[in-house]
Symmetry: C2
Amino acid sequence: MVAPELLQIAQQARAAAQKLVTLDTLAKNQALAAITEALQTQQAAILQANQTDMERSEQEELPMALLQRLKLSPDKLASNIQGVRDVMNLPDPVGQRQLHRELDAGLILERVTCPLGVLGVIFEARPEAVIQITALALKSGNAVILKGGQEATHSCQVLVQAIHRGLQGTAIPPTAVQLLTTRAEIQQLLELDQYVNLLIPRGSNAFVRYIQDHSRIPVLGHADGLCHLYIDQQVDIPQAMALAVDSKTQYPAACNAIETLLVHQAIAPEFLPPCAAALVAQGVKLRGDEATQKIIPVAPASEADWGTEYLDLVLAIKIVDSLETAITHINTYGSGHTEAIATTDAQAAAQFVAQVDAAGVYHNCSTRFADGFRYGFGAEVGISTQRLPPRGPVGLEGLVTYKYRLWGNGQVVATYSGDQAKSFAHRDLPL
Amino acid sequence: MVAPELLQIAQQARAAAQKLVTLDTLAKNQALAAITEALQTQQAAILQANQTDMERSEQEELPMALLQRLKLSPDKLASNIQGVRDVMNLPDPVGQRQLHRELDAGLILERVTCPLGVLGVIFEARPEAVIQITALALKSGNAVILKGGQEATHSCQVLVQAIHRGLQGTAIPPTAVQLLTTRAEIQQLLELDQYVNLLIPRGSNAFVRYIQDHSRIPVLGHADGLCHLYIDQQVDIPQAMALAVDSKTQYPAACNAIETLLVHQAIAPEFLPPCAAALVAQGVKLRGDEATQKIIPVAPASEADWGTEYLDLVLAIKIVDSLETAITHINTYGSGHTEAIATTDAQAAAQFVAQVDAAGVYHNCSTRFADGFRYGFGAEVGISTQRLPPRGPVGLEGLVTYKYRLWGNGQVVATYSGDQAKSFAHRDLPL
């Protein structure tokens, strides 16, 4: 049962979305500029609200990692305001013509990108997510309902107040940005499939999976990041070692860090000792299957290890007898995020890239490149591990859909049916 | 609980999909050609099996409409074999490069279309769906698990046997095409989210919705087709009448036929009498709101009518006071399928096309154009009314996804991080 206040919020957001869908790029960028000014003007109030959240969270002895994410410094705020300006400079994802075809004289078909409508975004501690998400949502012509972590309530409220103040007098109604503040509202948000068109949960794997399983609303996000690096029998050993170290240690808590290293049995005796040494030097704790244990000193890996996302300086190692076995292992245990092969054998690389089923398949480079900014998307909404598009790092284009427009001057289908049926021209026009 | 036999079928299909993903266009087309030959060779056995299904269905006194759909004539079979040749001539949806970018020297990012994997297709009486779906699935590099209607069991079995015989000796393993024959297997198919990547239900609205609500597997399809034609105050009356007649009567059982006619109050007294006469002359039964009842003789329409897909020669009429009211009505009651405006006012058309939320928004043409063949897609998998892509008529491109491929020569992310971070080039290359 959805509370009347929440229903009203959803209806306001939908009405605002209806307005947003008509705005051009200039109008949306002017509104974003007004938001940056309001955020700058309200900087003191924002930092003070964040201080209130910090004090309460410290009293409640929340974990240090969470306190660090909660903390909004003047630098962090400034960098996020700059982030809004960066989004202004990105190409408008709305209004892109993807198809342009003359079906017959005077009957013109177009496929044009358009906003999704209303986004529901649920995030944890980081209050600056309010700024980032609002910028991405509005640039893509969508209204947004935000739900931040309980510990960031004051920060989020003051940030949204500043955003509302900024939007006053612009073409975007302030009702386009809505904030939920109680945990009970999350469950109700999941039921608003008449009003909310896409859910973007940002949080733990279990949280994302819960959202996916408890709403009819489509969900953009990834539940897991269980990535592998496979070392083929023909390999440049120093290069492959560097890839293993970077993929594991450059930022082990990231979803695109590897959890399992697969090594071809023919190269394992030569490769594993120096590679293990390099990894251990970076603080990595190694686990290995029986074959690995015969080559290097490692803790034993069990079946459970192949399906575990450590998100930490732990790496499981398995020796495989062939490229095919490696591919099967990855397609069985991988989460479809990012998978890499290190090899000098072009044919092995081609087979790996074709047969491994993941959003990203890499040859001779670190899995850590799986990221919207590194791909040149300018901004990242999230990384999707679902099979259907959008897949992989998703930029602004993940926040739009398309519609077909057909422009005629009285054409009816009867003309193109039956014995005397007129033929279609189906002539593609310049985009 | 999935039966062991079904699990084996799913595993065989997945293994076949793993093989299919490596095949080029020529290999797939050769296999399709072999299927056409086998179907031709087995024509007598196919027609005989269909005769068996027909006799049993006649004994069971199944409805005439269903018997007509079940009946496989030599002409129907020949036309479906020709349909396989048509699919051979369509461009291969796999291997299309959508993005090609140099992230840095020697680090090349591609986004390339690839098969989805295994399709689960559930259809009703028409046995020739086996032929059509198999051709589309294999051309797009997917394995397929088919479940036909109970009444078509013999026809489907002999068709699949012929397809298997055709695939012998081709690059596509016969296990790529699997047939389920019992109703109990449908429920189990919905649980195979580890093996099946897309469900395509073809049947009633209620059936499609049931599938959507009872599986974690993505579903391609539309639950409803509740379409509108809105007659604006500035309109070419004869043209608008022709659009109303075609949109309603050209094939009333189609999902893209209109169910409600919205008319601006300023034009209603002039428009409705001749338009009603033209519709009634085609056998259409009219229902109208109170304002309509004052202008023409119609049965009263109730609130329930605005949400009813008649799929029959029945049309509800409502008079609205403005373009905005029409848009709100459509966005409230429409199913997001296809919506049209008849007007000579370009600004009204632009507003309608921007603000109406549907897969297709049309100006001065019949809603009946919403169809993959009419759009020039060559083949149609179905029409999707969901908000996210794929939306509208879906061709072969709805049966593929994409993956990102990143080709390097040892690049690590550490190089592009920290104080000494190297910049990315992000230079787009020719597609």
